[in-house]
Every structure is written in structure tokens, then in C-alpha cells.
Subunit: 377 residues, 2 copies
């Protein structure tokens, strides 16, 4: 498939950059946030709603779609885009994160990973080649190589062995790549060990990937460590290739990572929080179930222009949440995704106007995060 | 509140009629189907989606809203229309059906009904006066008097006592009515006993109600009995007042009842069936979870023009259902409500063109219901 990435502007005071990713299903501007569509749907929303929110690209989960309904089924139904009625870019992960989260239900070897389905206990064997085949069948625009995502903390020796295997898996993926395949991204691993991260980047840069994902972060390590790893890693990555930080994160994590040179992100945080009644606002997170909102006529955030804030009160959202109504998940998800997409829009604008440091200062000050922030530029 | 009903056309071969109900929140054409918004939301949908489907009026449940979030809360928040962002007509029931469904958790007396909340076991006492006060606080357009809905079968003596009490409750409701109150409908009871139904109508017609609901049907009696009761009842009701058949029913029930002179309906069937994966189609009901749809690219119904049928395959809907995705409830509800609203549209058109008998014949023949149908005109 066609794939092109272009850096259109670089920030002079940080590593941040503006860019554009082009695929056969259209383009998206970076820095970007990709909502997670685990089972072929961004939970509770339609594609039309995502477009209204301003979503330009989404993530699909290889592990979940492989198990149900199956990648061959999706292929016969015209591919994931047609299946779920989403015509814009789709990035698929490799399933690595989900498989390695299964703990004792999986066994790793040089050839690949054996695991038991969380749905029915059936046994499966996935290799780097198979994982690419699955993503090819899904018709993904951007595919990830199979990787092992090690938890934090893990001993140096194991992280080293694992990172080297992930690099060999990357190489095997390239060997079976076909002309019409999705763009293929390698995944940098190496835990919180600087020399291993550097080694990982060096090894992968010798191969021909269209982009680089940074994996193994947001897996339990302290926030300051994520920053450290990014500071070691992104400067080593080629400037003209996109950098994708997997599974991250909070609005603040994203802002920091952008300033350290990351181009795009995916995370279940806004959508999962929404379903749990936790909403992002310009004045911090709120829990909509609190009694103080019982007769509150105000929208979630008076500065927000999303569909939910335009039409519904905190009191109504609290009522829907307590009543376990489906509309609760919908309205909350719309709001939280809008918050993320709008945040990215404002970050891009700040980069464009050369005001990203001011934006960072004002954002962390509003959210009382000066102390939490361990990044200095 | 303003309320006006006008019969605009009468069918010459059946009791069916076309009409128009006007309220302070706009009008709706009859025969009409009102989706049920139990807890201040038509489960899973937004008001905008209801409007796109063609819904003109909805029902709200007094019992549920009284318990949570409370009618006083809704009043302080601007009324039910504002609370739920629905600007069109709302009919509220009296809570009678829900209270009497509580079985051993309620106790009935001349003054009113004592019952325990299904939410927290708290004790409540509702009278005809209180039930009107609640509906006034909700800002309903059409309110129902408190009634007792007796199950089928019930002994003649009990149904008689109950029906007479419901009539006395209707009278008490009128006595406390205020000028800006919702339009008030009486409820005809009397079970499956002809003389009791006749007595109920005669008593209620002496009072000044804006419309007449027919209650106590679709509570377990054979289908033929519902037709019999309607045949005894509707001809006795005043021609220039609307007739509302509560809690009914299947598409065929609705078609039959319209031919027997009923003007509008509410029922959870299309919305509840949707969430259970049962979909109405022009060729009968289907269960979307069936294995035969696993790779079926066709829409639910190729003759349907709803959002769901325009964009999604049976295979995708099956996948969403099996994956317990929220979008499953949404897409299925859109389809089923569209089916009902479209059915009513076609029935109104058939009445207008004097072709209702043909429509009935073709509908029951397509659905293989000739034998089931016990109504002859």
C-alpha cells in the first residue's frame, strides 16, 4: 500500500514536529491521537461520530480480531475498513501486548508464541510471519511487527534476550513482506535500560521499516522513567520516519512525549475512563457519579464544544451513569475523545505558532502538574 | 397546556382513522407508535437519532423517573424535555403498570398504592393526586391517571372492584387538575369482561378527559381476546378524542388495533428485542446471533433504508452482538425502531389512499399470519 510521511515543521525549542501521514485510506496530521477500536468498533460510537469529533485515524487490535470474528472472515467480508464502515486510516497492533498480558496462558519461543484464547481457552501459535499475514488480511494501513512487551520491573538479562528476539522477529517480518502489504513499523524495546534501547534502535534502523514504534512503556514504570527512555530513544530515530508511542497515555504524557519528538499515540484511557464515568475537562478530571452533580445544570466543561457539552447537563449525565444507561457510555466517550482530539489540535497549533513551551507551561500549571512533570526542555 | 386532537380522515372499510395530536411541544400524526424512554432515554439512542428515524413523540415512565432521579429534581432541572434534550411531545404513563407488576411488594387501598422501590426497597405511597403532581413536575404533554392493571386471568369479581376503583381514581385526578396541567387521559379497564369494559367506558365518558387509554391488555390473554375487547370498547369511545392502547405490541397487534379504531401505541418490544439481537424485517423476525450470518455481507433487510441497513452487514451486526459491544444495541435499536415507524407511515398512507384492507391482507400474508389473525372486517 502507498505510505508516505512528511515532517512539515519542526519546533525550535523542543523535539516536537508537525507532520503528515498519507495512506491509501487518506491522510492524518501529526502529532495525532488514535482511539482504540479493540473489537472492530470504537466502543459505543459510530464512524460518523468519530469524524464529527475530528478523529482522523484509529487503531484495531490484531489479537482480538484474529480470535473473533477471525481475520479470514474479515478478509472475505472486504477487510476491516468495510466491515466496520470506517474509510480512513487504520493502524493495527501486532497482538504482542495482549498476548504477553496473558501471563501464564502463553509460552514464548524463538519461533513464536503459543497462547490460550481468553475467550474459549483454545490454543494458538503466532509467529512474526503469521501476525503480518493477519494484518494483511485485515487490510490495515499500518502494521506492527510481533514484539514482546516486557513488564516493569524486569531484570536486565531478560530484557536483553527479549529485545534481541524482538529484533530478529522484525527481520523475519521484513523477509515475508509483500508489495501490497500495509506499511510496516518496527518496535523499539529494551525496557528502562539505556544501552538496550540504543541497541534496539541501532539494529532496527539497519532494516527497511516505514516507521518506528516505541513499545514497553506505560507498563508500570515511574513517569520520570518514561521521559528518560524517550529522551534516549527518539534522538536516535531517523528524522524522516514517524515515531509512534504505543499505549500512551494521559494528556500530560502525550504532551511531554510530543515535546520529546513522538508523532502519534493510541490509548484506551479516554474511552475506558468515559465508560467508568471519569471525564477529562479543562480544569482536571471529574467523576460524574459524585452527588455534587445531582442537580448541576452546567455542561461537563463550559469551555468544551462537543455534542455532549452542547446539549446535556452534568445532572443528566450523572443520572444516566447511575441508571447504567447505554447513552451514558456514548455521551461520556464523545466528550473524552473530543477532549483528546482537541488537545492534539491545540498542540499542533502551538507548534505551528512556535508557542509549544508556553502551551506546556500553561497546561501543566492549570492542571497543577508542575511537580509531577519531570521533563525540562 | 394546549392540547388538540383532530380526526382528519376515516377509513370506510374499517374503524381506522388518520388524525393529528397537537401539544405545546409540537404535533404528531396518528396512528402513531411512541418508543419507550423508561429512564429519561430511549435506550442507546440520542434524540437526534430518533428524529432521523422519524419518531414524533415518545413515552416516559413516571414510576422510574419518580424513583430516580426524582420528579422534583427533574423539575428543578427544567423538566423532562430539557433534562433529556427532547423537544417534541412526551406522554407519561401513571406508573400503575410498573407498580402492579411489583406483585407482593405493593399493597392497594382506596386511597392509593403502597409499594417498595425495586432499586433500594424504600417504601412509597402513590395516590391519583400524587401521580398527577409527578407528571406535572416532569412537564409531560400527555399524562395518565393512576390505574390498576389486573393480570390475566383474574376473577370477574376482582376485576369489577378494581375497575370501579380505577374510575374513582380518575374522578379524583380531575378534581385536582390545574389549568397548565398536561392533557389528562383516563384509562379503560375491565379485563376481558364485556360488561365491565362497557361500564368503564360509560363511567369515564361522563368525565372531562382529553383522551382515553385502553389498559389491561397484552398482559397474558390470548391474542383473539385482545381483539374482542377492542371490538367492544372502541366503538363506545367518543370519536373526537384520541384512543391510546397501552403497552401494545407486535407489528400485527398494532395493525389490527388500528383497524379497530386505535390511534396510538407504546411498547418496549422493538427496543428490547433489538438489545437481545432480534430484528424485525419485511420477511419476519430474525435472530442476528445465528451462525448462518457469520459471513453474510447483506444488510439486515435489503428493502430497509435505515442507517444500520445502509452501512452494516449482518456479519458485522452478529460480531458486535457476540462481542457484547455497545454499538450492537445501538445499530439494532435504530433498525427495529425504523421498522416500526416505517410500518406506521405505511399504514397511514394506506388509510389515506383507502387501501388499508389490501395492506392488511398483504402484510399478514407475507408474514404467514393468516391463521393467527382472528380479526375479520
Amino acid at each position: 500500500m502507498a505510505f508516505r510521511f512528511e515532517v512539515t515543521q519542526k519546533d525550535s525549542l523542543s523535539q516536537a514536529r508537525l507532520g503528515r501521514v498519507e495512506t491509501d485510506h487518506g491522510s492524518f496530521t501529526t502529532p495525532a491521537f488514535l482511539p482504540v477500536g479493540t473489537q472492530g468498533t470504537i466502543k459505543s460510537l459510530t464512524p460518523e461520530e468519530l469524524i464529527e469529533i475530528g478523529v482522523e485515524a484509529i487503531l484495531g487490535n490484531t489479537y482480538h480480531l484474529y480470535l473473533r470474528p477471525g481475520h479470514e472472515t474479515i478478509k472475505r467480508l472486504g477487510g476491516l475498513h468495510t466491515f466496520m464502515h470506517w474509510g480512513r486510516p487504520i493502524l493495527t497492533d501486532s497482538g504482542g501486548f495482549q498476548i504477553f498480558s496473558l501471563g501464564s496462558l502463553r509460552k514464548i519461543a524463538e519461533e513464536g508464541v503459543t497462547f490460550q484464547s481468553h475467550l474459549d481457552g483454545s490454543s494458538h501459535f503466532l509467529t512474526p510471519e503469521k501476525v503480518l499475514e493477519i494484518q494483511r488480511a485485515l487490510g490495515s494501513d499500518i502494521a506492527m511487527v510481533l514484539d514482546e512487551c516486557v513488564p516493569y520491573p524486569s531484570p536486565y538479562e531478560y530484557v536483553k534476550i527479549s529485545m534481541e528476539r524482538t529484533s530478529r522477529w522484525a527481520e523475519r517480518s521484513l523477509e515475508v513482506r509483500r508489495e501490497r502489504d500495509p506499511a510496516l513499523f518496527a518496535i523499539v524495546q529494551g525496557g528502562v535500560y539505556r544501552d538496550l534501547r540504543e541497541k534496539s534502535v541501532q539494529t532496527l534502523m539497519k532494516m527497511e521499516f516505514q516507521g518506528y514504534a516505541i513499545g514497553g512503556l506505560s507498563v508500570g514504570e515511574p513517569k520520570s522513567m518514561m521521559s528518560e527512555v524517550l529522551k534516549w530513544t527518539t534522538p536516535l530515530l531517523p528524522e524522516n520516519h514517524p515515531r509512534y508511542l504505543m499505549g500512551v497515555g494521559t494528556p500530560e504524557d502525550i504532551l511531554h512525549a510530543i515535546m520529546l519528538g513522538v508523532d502519534f499515540f493510541d490509548c484506551v484511557l479516554p474511552t475506558r475512563n468515559a465508560r467508568n464515568g471519569t471525564l477529562f475537562t479543562s480544569f482536571g478530571k471529574i467523576s460524574i457519579k459524585q452527588a455534587q452533580y445531582a442537580e448541576d445544570k452546567k455542561p461537563v466543561d463550559e469551555t468544551c464544544t462537543c455534542y455532549t457539552c452542547r446539549h446535556y447537563s452534568r445532572a443528566y449525565l450523572r443520572h444516566l451513569y447511575l441508571s447504567k444507561e447505554i447513552l451514558s457510555s456514548r455521551l461520556n466517550t464523545i466528550h473524552n475523545l473530543f477532549y483528546y482530539i482537541e488537545l492534539l489540535r491545540r498542540i499542533r497549533k502551538a507548534i505551528q505558532e512556535g508557542k509549544l513551551l508556553d502551551f506546556h507551561k500553561s497546561h501543566t500549571s492549570i492542571h497543577g502538574l508542575e511537580k509531577e512533570s519531570s521533563i525540562h526542555f
